[in-house]
Amino acid sequence: MKRMEGTTVWQDFRLNYFGISDRGQVRTLNEDDFLIMPEYHLFCVADGMGGHAAGDVASRLSLEGIGDYFAFRHHPEEIPRPALLPDDLVNTPLLEGAVHYANLRVNQAAGNKTMGSTLVAAFAVEQAIQVIHVGDSRAYLWRDRKLQQITEDHSLVYELYRQGQISKEDMRTHPQRNVITQALGPQTRIAPTILRFSPLRDDLLLLCSDGLTTMLEDSELSSIVSTHPTVHDIGSTLVEQANMAGGKDNITVVLIHIE
């Protein structure tokens, strides 16, 4: 189990953050991970997959790739250029470049094994918050006392939901709920989705792996966010409730409160 909390200043906001990754009740390994780099205002959640603990390696490599890329791009004179970084990623927008680079890292390490990782990351830069994702780990925004999912899962069941063939609740129990259409690792090219929004004071951003959202409905998430005063309380309770609902997968949550 891993937990991390703290606060960092960005523009004229204070970002209070809390990250927690829990193995859950069923799995023997935790193949989720999270990365928080407060100095870069960067927050990431990764959910790894692949047989024989490859998921653990995949999620770790994804986040290491992102971390190495961010450190190098911020301090190119002092930090050695990360291995395998192609020239065409050296000057791309930071968050995109980091995710494409992370994909190459996992892809290279996989060799002929099958392994991959989802990713959802938030990055506060200039006047906006950017959110990027690959796979079915999600970002939610809490604003005006409402919790809204702001990413669209790269998954088969999400496609069915979007087409109106199943409801959002059905997604959580659908027999093919684990089939995702994109991940970091299996292919050399990926098509991540990026969105940007202008944050308002008191916004709360929730990044999570599907171990949270297959156990708890959106209304339950909303209820927990609205009734707990700190990111620490919200995060701890989300994991606790997901475990009490069965904890069938690893559960990872990163919360950022914009104050």
């Binding site: 991390m4 703290g6 971390g67 301090h75 259409t181 991940a183 005063p229 309380d233 701890s236």
Partner: protein, 311 residues
């Protein structure tokens, strides 16, 4: 249903660029350094810290720090290469570098009966590779029976109620900030006192082996005096066999302190003694502006309890 004791290590950054950050790990080993892959990661440009500066390794029920740096690691001010850690120890990462405090805590993690081993059940989006074979769905283990957290009750007008049964175990969060340390409890009751048997040991003069107990019943936090000397007070009144803790209440554990303020959400934060106390020289009230503070405890207080203003 088994309870597996899990040992967590807690690292609090008490000085340096990451001051205020708290991390907890259940791993057998954690890495400290500038490398982005380090568990306790310092900024890439803080050159006095080595890329792989040190590790903290679990050895049985104890933890030891192992230094592998260029500029050294200090344990409570003394340079070490390898040394066992105890709760409250302060590590300085490189001479003149950032400081972190170390704590270990045991928590009981509830485990469902061991499930059958299944391969990871998620097939990858493979265009170029064989998809993973779909393994059978894992057997759902017997549901974990745990008391759901009680819903908060509307506080009744405070007529002294009969003390509720104190021994009831409840899953309720409780966080104590004392000096540079932060202890988090997920289950109550907890006892505070000199004895190592207390969940929150407080080795201070004037504190009995078991001085006070915090418990949670009926949606409320309560404090009970275990000292037998009527020393534990809330807002100046002795609590005796049980008194509710309400947000903004002032708790004093003995006539010589320590003093705490209780905040909503089960948080107890160390504070100055209340000003009307004639025997104490008057102390300034804790500042709430983010000014440079002399006391690390106050810094932690304002960083982590910031939202209490909204309650």
């Amino acid at each position: 249903m088994q309870h597996i004791p899990v040992i967590l290590m807690q690292i609090i950054h008490i000085e340096g660029p990451l001051k205020g950050q708290i991390q907890e790990f259940s791993a057998m080993e954690i890495s400290i350094g500038r490398n982005p892959s380090c568990d306790v990661r310092f900024p890439a440009t803080l050159n006095i810290v080595s890329r792989q500066h040190a590790r903290i390794i679990r050895d049985g029920n104890r933890f030891k720090v192992v230094d592998s740096s260029s500029n050294g690691t200090l344990l409570n001010g003394k340079p070490v290469k390898e040394a066992f850690l105890k709760d409250g120890d302060v590590l300085t990462i490189a001479q003149g570098g950032p400081k972190i405090s170390f704590l270990s805590k045991m928590t009981n993690q509830v485990m469902a009966p061991a499930p059958p081993k299944t391969a990871d059940e998620r097939p990858l989006p493979a265009a170029t590779r064989e998809p993973e074979p779909q393994p059978p769905a894992p057997v759902t283990p017997a549901p974990v029976t745990a008391t759901p957290p009680p819903r908060p009750v509307q506080p009744a007008t405070p007529v002294a109620p009969p003390p509720p049964p104190a021994e009831q175990r409840s899953k309720a969060p409780f966080i104590i900030q004392f000096g540079p340390t932060l202890r988090t409890f997920n289950e109550l009751p907890i006892r505070i006192g000199q004895s190592g048997q207390c969940e929150f040991p407080l080795p201070l003069p004037g504190i009995a082996d078991q001085q006070a107990m915090i418990f949670f019943v009926g949606g409320q936090y309560w404090v009970k005096d275990l000292s037998g000397k009527n020393q534990v007070c809330v807002n100046g009144r002795p609590v005796e066999s049980g008194s509710i803790l309400q947000p903004e209440d002032e708790l004093c554990l003995s006539p010589t302190g320590p003093y705490f303020k209780f905040l909503s959400g089960g948080r107890l934060a160390e504070s100055e003694p209340p000003s009307p106390a004639a025997s104490q020289p008057s102390q300034p009230a804790p500042k709430t502006t983010p000014a440079m503070e002399e006391s690390k405890a106050h810094n932690l207080l304002q960083r982590f309890w910031r939202r209490s203003k909204d309650d």
